[in-house]
Structures are given as structure tokens and as C-alpha cells.
């Protein structure tokens, strides 16, 4: 029975929505097994579980998964989690990027698209990465930290940007597509051993995942089963996000790989061919 269960890890964020939908509708696709979704509190707890093989796959920050691959963990990115939907939220004292000079900005992880977005934003404003004080923090803590004054701004996965806005602790400074159109944020990754040992199960899962992408924007109830968020914030956050095309675009990947190298976050990030395997996704789309 254990062998027919796919264990997939996630953090309760809007970005992992295809997983929720797939899980809700699993009898439709999963003839040979079950999905078991496992929730984590922080990215690093999730990575520990993925790296040590306690889960088969996860919806995870793209650069973090690349780093794991670089470290020798054999995983493959099979699809995106979503497109767009990363807002830069700033406290009431911040009107423009320049106001952030010397202030504290929170990101979920150094190895996150959000970190790259921050750099992108600072660069656009003619500032340096070192002009702000960057801290890492679990996404859920950010609105609270902003309201307590521990940080002046944060960039993170949804719905926490939207929560910050609806709680009125901050406002949107930028949306990700203003800064970097087509940025890759979250990836659906699997352990290579899983893809090899149970290809049929993987295929069925990916079918469900792709299908879910088509519903994720509308099925608010499914979200609410997995997220601790009120409807207002969720609705706002879904306005910012899109799940239509979950394919991993080669050019976008190459751009991110370059940025990662520029920032010195990795030494040898895997190439597209080494790390990305969208064959299953493409199969379902055919």
C-alpha cells in the first residue's frame, strides 16, 4: 500500500494550488494509487524530508530545488507551480523603492525567486543588494513581522502578500511581472528514483496536476481546505496569480540560472537538460 501512495510535500501557500486540486480530484486520475499531501511549516523542513527520501516529491522554491540538485540530490523539476503572483509588500512608511535604503526586507529563503526579484527591483531603482538588510523568515510570519515593525517590506509567495494588504499592514509596491515577466517561482519536483521506479504513478499524478491547473483559479473551496486564509485575501491573491501554463520555459530557466550565478548563490547550477523534465507534463497535454 505504501508503494502505491505518492507522498508530496507542500507549504500552505496559494502557489501550491494545483496540488490541492489534484488531491481533491484524485479518484478521477489516480487509478493505481493515492496522493498523500504532507504539509510543512518551513521550506527547509520540507527540503530535509525531500532530500532524505521521506517524501517522493514536493512543490518547492525553484532555486532551492536547483541547489539540492547541485548538492547531488537526484531530483527533477516536472512542472511549474504557477505563473506570476509574487508581490512586493511594503509598510506604510515606504512609498518607493528608495525608501527601503537601510531598512529590513524579508524573503522566504535566500534560494528563492523572491530573493532574485528583490535584487531585480533594487537594480531597477539604481540601488545595491547591500543597501537593504535582507532577512529570511517563514512566509506565514511576514505579515505579523511587518505589523510589529521588525521588517519594512517583504516579498513572498501568496497568499501572504494579499493577507498583508487585506490586514492593512502594508501595500503593494510591485508585482513580479512588473519586475521580471515570466519569472519561475515554484516547481513541482520529484525524486528521480520515484520517477524511475513508479513511472505509471508519476504519469497519473502529473495528469491530475495539469488538469488542476485549469481549475485552480476558480475553485476557492479547494484552496480553503488547505490554507488558513479568509476569502477576501484569497480572492485578491488569485487575482495576481495564474495557473494556465505550467510548462517550464527554457529561456526563463536560462535567465534564472544566470541570475543565480551572478548573485553567487550557486557555483554550478544544473542546466535545463540536467534538471528539468517536462516530458510527463507534455504527455498529458497531448
Amino acid at each position: 500500500a505504501a508503494d502505491s501512495t505518492i507522498k508530496v510535500g507542500y507549504l500552505p501557500i496559494t502557489h501550491a494550488a494545483p496540488l490541492y486540486i489534484a488531491n481533491e480530484n484524485q479518484e478521477q486520475f489516480m487509478q493505481d494509487g493515492d496522493i498523500e499531501l504532507i504539509r510543512f511549516g518551513t521550506w527547509i523542513d520540507l527540503m530535509d524530508a525531500l532530500n532524505s527520501g521521506r517524501i517522493d516529491g514536493a512543490s518547492v522554491l525553484f532555486p532551492l530545488a536547483m541547489k539540492a540538485h547541485e548538492k547531488g540530490i537526484d531530483i527533477k523539476a516536472t512542472a511549474l507551480g504557477h505563473e506570476d503572483g509574487n508581490a512586493v509588500i511594503a509598510g506604510p512608511n515606504i512609498e518607493q523603492v528608495e525608501d527601503l535604503k537601510g531598512e529590513t526586507v524579508a524573503i522566504p529563503h535566500t534560494l528563492s525567486t523572491h530573493n532574485l526579484l528583490l535584487d531585480e527591483m533594487l537594480e531597477n531603482a539604481g540601488m545595491n543588494y547591500s543597501d537593504v538588510n535582507v532577512v529570511e523568515m517563514p512566509p506565514a510570519e511576514m505579515p505579523a513581522a511587518l505589523s510589529e515593525g521588525r521588517i519594512e517590506s517583504y516579498i513572498v509567495a501568496e497568499p501572504f502578500g494579499a493577507i498583508g494588504v487585506t490586514l492593512d499592514v502594508g501595500h503593494v509596491l510591485y508585482q513580479s511581472n512588473d519586475l521580471w515577466p515570466g519569472c519561475l517561482c515554484c516547481a513541482m519536483v520529484f525524486r528521480q528514483s520515484f520517477l524511475e521506479d513508479r513511472p505509471e504513478l508519476a504519469k497519473q499524478f502529473m495528469e491530475g496536476y495539469a488538469h488542476a491547473g485549469e481549475h485552480a483559479e476558480y475553485d476557492l473551496d479547494a484552496h480553503m481546505n488547505y490554507l488558513n486564509v479568509d476569502e477576501e485575501a484569497l480572492a485578491l491573491s488569485l487575482e495576481w496569480i495564474s495557473y494556465e501554463n505550467l510548462n517550464i520555459n527554457r529561456e526563463d530557466y536560462e535567465y534564472m540560472r544566470e541570475r543565480v550565478l551572478q548573485l553567487g548563490l550557486m557555483e554550478e547550477p544544473p542546466t535545463y537538460d540536467e534538471f528539468v523534465d517536462t516530458s510527463l507534463l507534455e504527455e498529458t497535454q497531448r
Partner: protein
């Protein structure tokens, strides 16, 4: 009687101080909730029953971790306390591992013990293990030589020597280690749940904090304090029960 009165006075004093801080400092409700709103938070948690789920999970983790730590540590401690040479080698290892916060081991805990309840249980195990081990070893080493000579004289052999003489003679020392460990372990359970877990009292606090419900944070702290105290008292009762069986209290 006197004691109950004292507890009552204590709580009134505490609430008065708390309320006056709010008045004097002029803190907003959102930043420092009033006793009343915390009380209503507590009542709400009890009525909806959510609190009992979290308490149940925390207690389950606590007793699994603490219980196994106590058993392993006492058995090891009895052996190591009786073999000074072996202890001479194990001691430096323990000394270096002990000051490391149990949560620091998380990556390896996940590697070996998996996910779910296990990390929290293992963290408590580590938190409780060292105090009990050290207390047991030192209690065994301090067992009055007279008892050992007596046993030798009466030709009491192992394992009777261990459970008839050494264990009861070392019991008061072990008990104080158990006491110490119960406090540390409880504190670390909550601290551990605040970092990784998705349920339990520690998670409750983090969750309330993330939702900016500071009144629920204080309500959670209230439950943690009261439960921690109860566990401590329970252990005290158990100890004095064993002590009575063994005639230690007069």
C-alpha cells in the same frame, strides 16, 4: 487552604500588574491584549475544543519522548555509573553533545526518524536524555560505599545488586534528574513545535501570532504554563509515592 489562598492572591496580583501595564503604557489591544480578552480567548478555545486536540498531540509527543529518554538514560546511567573506565570515555562525548540545542539536529533527525511526530519526539528525547543520564551516573557513583560493602559481605550478586541496592540507593539523585528533565523537555517540546510542527501547543502559538491574534498567543502561553506545572506536580506525586514505598520521606 493557605496554599489555595496564596495561589488566588498570586493570580490577582498578576492580573492587576498586567492591567496596570496596559493602562500606564497605553498599549493598544492588538499589541498587548487585556486580561479580559485573553480570558475570552481561553474560553473560546475550550468551547470549540481546538485546544484539546493540540494539548493531546503535545502530551502524546511529550510522553513518548520523555518516557523513552528516561528508560534509556536510567539503564545506560546505571551501567555507566558502575564502570568508571567506560564513563571516562563516554563523558567527554556527552559533555560536547549536551550544550547543543536539540533543534539543531533536525536535518539528521528527519534523515533517520522521518517526519510527522517523530522529530518532536526525538527533540524531547534529546532534551530529557542528558539531564537524566548525568543525574543517574552521578547518583550511582555517589551510592554510599557502605551499601556496596554490605552487599559484598552478604554475597549479593548481579542483577540483584543492581535492582535491590544500587537503583533504590541512587533513586533520590535520579529523581532530581527526572524533575529537572521534565521541565527542560516540556520547554523544548513547545520550542520545537514552534519551529517545525504543524500541530501542538507550540504551533498554536505560532499560528496565533501569524494571524496577529496576540490574545490567543497569551491564551496558549497560559495553557503551556498550567500544563507544564501539572506535569511537574504529577511527577512530584509519583516521586513521593515511590519515596513512600521506599521509606525515604521520614
Amino acid at each position: 487552604m493557605r496554599k489555595i489562598l496564596n495561589v488566588l492572591i498570586a493570580f490577582i496580583v498578576l492580573i492587576v500588574i498586567w492591567q496596570s501595564v496596559i493602562w500606564v503604557g497605553g498599549y493598544e489591544e492588538a499589541l498587548l491584549p487585556s486580561p479580559l480578552s485573553v480570558a475570552s480567548g481561553i474560553v473560546e478555545m475550550v468551547i470549540t475544543g481546538t485546544i484539546f486536540e493540540h494539548i493531546g498531540i503535545s502530551l502524546y509527543r511529550f510522553f513518548m519522548g520523555y518516557g523513552s529518554a528516561v528508560i534509556v538514560a536510567i539503564v545506560l546511567g546505571l551501567i555507566l555509573g558502575r564502570s568508571p573506565k567506560l564513563w571516562g570515555i563516554v563523558d567527554p562525548i556527552v559533555q560536547v553533545l549536551r550544550p547543543v540545542a536539540p533543534v539543531a539536529w533536525t536535518p539528521f533527525i528527519v534523515l533517520w526518524f522521518g517526519i510527522g511526530n517523530m522529530p518532536a519526539i526525538v527533540i524531547i528525547f534529546i532534551a530529557a536524555f542528558f539531564p537524566v543520564l548525568l543525574a543517574t551516573v552521578s547518583a550511582v557513583k555517589k551510592v554510599d560505599n557502605t551499601y556496596l560493602k554490605l552487599a559484598e559481605n552478604l554475597e549479593v550478586k548481579q542483577p540483584a545488586l543492581m535492582y535491590k541496592v544500587i537503583l533504590p540507593a541512587a533513586f533520590p539523585g535520579i529523581a532530581s534528574g527526572l524533575h529537572l528533565a521534565v521541565g527542560t523537555a516540556w520547554i523544548f517540546l513547545v520550542a520545537g513545535e514552534m519551529v517545525g510542527a504543524q500541530s501542538g501547543l507550540g504551533y498554536l502559538i505560532i499560528d496565533a501570532r501569524n494571524a496577529l491574534d496576540l490574545d490567543l498567543v497569551l491564551a496558549g502561553i497560559f495553557f503551556i504554563g498550567v500544563l507544564g506545572l501539572s506535569i511537574d506536580k504529577l511527577l512530584g506525586l509519583f516521586e513521593s509515592w515511590v519515596g513512600k514505598q521506599w521509606g525515604f520521606n521520614r
